[in-house]
């Protein structure tokens, strides 16, 4: 389903609750669960019979659907009874058939680790590869000082853990990585797309596209007899901790197995589910998290992200290969602006800025919006500030944007950079010019940072945005969510194989201990980066520019950062 076809309500929802395309795509329009009442005492009236499941996943977003796929595709967990509850119509995903020249505004970058996981659960092959753009390089620079760091896929050499990582993780040479997560390179031969020399840094594709692949795969599992029930277009009305209330399920009490502590979900369509393990994949305002009384810590950035689908003129880029497959990100004092490559001369914009500017940008006429996006990648912050100030209350430009931008660009071009003045060549590559913005793709949403105080509770586990939310600047939100899912599916499978109760908190602890620290490290890193660049205070700009330039010239450290961002290595990855 193209975004253009989204209902007004759905779009409003996107702008209200959706996270940035890059980072936290786990929140998608179809997961705004509302639980009318969350009660800790049991419901007395129970019209419908209680259906029992081993796993109930609340939230059919990418994280929830991916977990359903992962569980269904494994041997032991595939034999369990699984339910997936989604408030919206999942058939929208199955029927999503966009035109080749239309892209949804919600685009995510998938790291090699995420892609390897999607391959393993059979989703990658369901995707239309003409809609996936390989990201071969990244250009990241400081809008205040111009300091720049470039990442190139060719810099990340292949299969083994880098020396620095080996030193820091205490496993010097010889040892092979033990856990699955660091094992991707060796078991994954296909991270190369179209036979390129070095595997891309990431793949860019629409969230809806991944969603469709997941739904297709879920249907395939259902077709081959996996007990995977989908409850769509229905909300969770309440979740009840069935605290040894034997009146609710007398027939259960008779059984030898004690299921009295299994949570019970009352659905809006009248169904009642009781589950051994309740998975919260229900987004940033997770009702499951509220039910489990898990605190969510963090803050809202005073920033909004604005996404849009852009049409670009690749010939205007000065990067090699006309900037094909290059992701561009410039840090402005108001927040980073990023352009992610798509195919066929399209790109996806994620512009983090103040809430006011984000709203203004949404209202600007397309022509002026494009001019301003181009300026955001080239003009001085002072110039941008002037332009922001000259957006009228109804989004009309109060000055001639094109003329003002052209004038400043001509002044800037006349000023040779310091390096040129000293006889060097100016090698800073320029991003392609934006020529148009696809209609109805501009959508603002608030940016947040959240981490749950815990990911597991007895019978309850959180994944994806329900567990953590991150600023989109590093494009890590979806990847973190998929890493959660990959890990949780593995932990559940292992518990089943060893005969433990998958809902027991002790069975879930390995998931929590494996994912909590890496997620926290990523959240912290991204948060610090965001704060570091959210200023134009002289000494800070000087120090961060010095640091960035230094890192850009230190190959091994740069490689390390890339591998970290690509999910090839994780900080303090435990078993």
């Amino acid at each position: 389903m193209a975004t253009g076809m989204l209902s007004r309500a759905a779009r409003a929802r996107i702008s209200r609750c959706m996270n940035p395309a890059l980072a936290t795509p786990l929140a998608h329009p179809f997961r705004h669960h509302r639980i009318a009442h969350i009660r800790s005492q049991s419901t007395s009236a129970s019209a419908a019979p209680l259906e029992q499941y081993d796993v109930v996943i609340v939230g059919g977003g990418i994280a929830g659907s991916a977990l359903a796929c992962a569980l269904a595709s494994a041997k032991a967990s595939g034999a369990q009874r699984i339910a997936l509850i989604e408030a919206f119509d999942l058939s929208n995903h199955i029927n999503w058939s966009p035109r080749p020249d239309q892209y949804s505004n919600r685009v995510s970058s998938l790291t090699p680790k995420s892609v390897a996981f999607l391959k393993r659960i059979g989703v990658w092959s369901e995707l239309d590869h003409s809609r996936i753009a390989a990201c071969e390089g990244m250009q990241v620079w400081d809008g205040v000082s111009g300091a720049r760091i470039t990442f190139d896929a060719a810099d990340v050499n292949g299969t083994q853990s880098s020396f620095l990582h080996q030193v820091f993780s205490g496993k010097l040479p010889t040892t092979t990585p033990l856990n699955n997560s660091s094992n991707i390179n060796s078991n994954d031969d296909g991270t190369t797309l179209n036979g390129q020399e070095s595997p891309p840094l990431a793949w860019m594709t629409e969230n809806l596209h991944v969603q469709r692949g997941l739904q297709k795969q879920i249907m395939a599992h259902q077709a081959r007899g996996v007990q995977l029930d989908i409850f769509e277009k229905t909300k969770v009305q309440s979740i009840t901790a069935n605290q040894a209330d034997s009146t609710i399920a007398p027939e259960v009490a008779a059984e030898s197995m004690d299921i009295s502590d299994w949570p019970i979900l009352q659905l809006e369509n009248g169904k009642r589910l009781q589950t051994r393990l309740l998975v919260g994949a229900d987004g940033v305002n997770s009702p499951v998290r509220s039910f489990a009384n898990i605190e969510s810590l963090g803050w809202d950035y005073s920033q909004f992200g604005l996404v849009a689908t852009l049409q670009i003129d690749p010939t205007t880029s000065t990067a090699p290969g006309q900037g094909r497959g290059i992701a561009w990100q410039r840090f402005l004092p108001t927040g980073p602006v990023a352009m992610l490559p798509l195919n066929n001369g399209y790109a996806s914009l994620v512009w983090s800025t103040t809430p006011k500017i984000a709203q203004d940008l949404k209202k600007l006429p397309a022509r002026d919006f494009c001019a301003l996006v181009n300026a955001a990648f080239s003009a001085s912050p002072a110039e941008l500030e002037y332009l922001y100030k000259n957006i009228g209350p109804n989004g009309e430009p109060l000055v001639d944007f094109q003329q003002e931008i052209e004038w400043r660009a001509s002044v800037q071009d006349a000023e040779p950079s310091k390096t040129m003045l000293r006889g060097g060549a100016n090698t800073d590559a320029k991003p392609p010019k934006v020529v148009d913005v696809q209609e109805n793709t501009r959508a603002p949403f608030p940016l947040r940072m959240r981490n749950s105080s815990s990911y597991v509770e007895d019978r309850v586990v959180l994944v994806g945005d329900a567990a953590h939310t991150v600023h989109p600047l590093a494009g890590q939100g979806l990847n973190q969510g998929l890493a959660d899912v990959e890990c949780l599916a593995r932990v559940i499978e292992q518990s089943l194989l060893s005969g433990s109760d998958i809902g027991n908190i002790h069975s879930l602890t390995p998931y929590s201990s494996e994912r909590f620290l890496p997620n926290l490290a990523m959240l912290g890193t991204v948060d610090k980066l965001s704060k570091l660049y959210n200023t134009d205070f002289g000494p800070v700009v000087w120090a961060r520019s010095l640091g960035l330039t230094a890192v850009d010239n230190m190959g091994p450290i740069k490689t390390e950062i890339m591998r970290f961002a690509m999910g090839l290595e994780e900080p303090s990855s435990s078993k």
Partner: protein
Amino acid sequence: MSLSLSARFPRSLRALVNPTSRAALLKPARTAPCATLFTSSSPLHPPTGKLYEGHIPISPLQRTILAVGSAFTALANPLRGDMVAALGETTGEMFLSRIRDQMLQDPEGRRILRERPKITSETMQLDKLRQLPDGTFGREYVRFLDDQQVSPDTREPVHFVDSEELAYVMQRYRETHDFYHTLTGLPVTVDGEIALKWFEMVQTGLPMTMLSSFFGPLRLTSEERARLFDVYVPWALENGSNSKLLMNVRWEEWMDRPVEDVQRELGVQSCPQA
């Protein structure tokens, strides 16, 4: 911009911020030797072409030598206006780009940057200004020039700023300084200049305009110092925060207006006891 030295040496201060002063007039020929001294290409970074008329591209090493050298020369001989100017230029790039950014926020400032008007005796038509009635901004401005026996044409051109636009901002900053005196009524004295520095700091929010004020008072008599802190500084704090940024003023278009009108429009009051 490092004005500390100039503050200790009033004439050089005038040469920097007001190069039409006599100090600058006395030594116009000195410019060339000092400039050529540093133009030989550095083995580290051979400089390339000029960016604007009068531009002298220098390498970072040369810049350092020039900054230190000009500082010592100016210390030893406050009459070397060219050296004081060189010091300001070599160290003031950050200051200039901040001023430029402030100008970019304002339609008038942008118009000035776009049209780059120059202030010379020709563009200002000083003779015409002399015909204006007493009390008009233009008449008082010319009176000031005549009293100081200076002309707008004798300013030190900008040499060492590695940016055409910032060189213009520097030029404009120097060229418009005399208008500040006309506007505020502050005299060309050490404490008068320091009062103007305070005023500029409050206006621009840039502490570097203040460096001179930390050292300047050392040279004042206790009477002057008392007047500076009791009268001038409170005036500067109040007026600096209330007035329009003076770099965004197209002074050329205000010449036939009474000084009081200009003051009212710009939100500046005459400095008491000036």
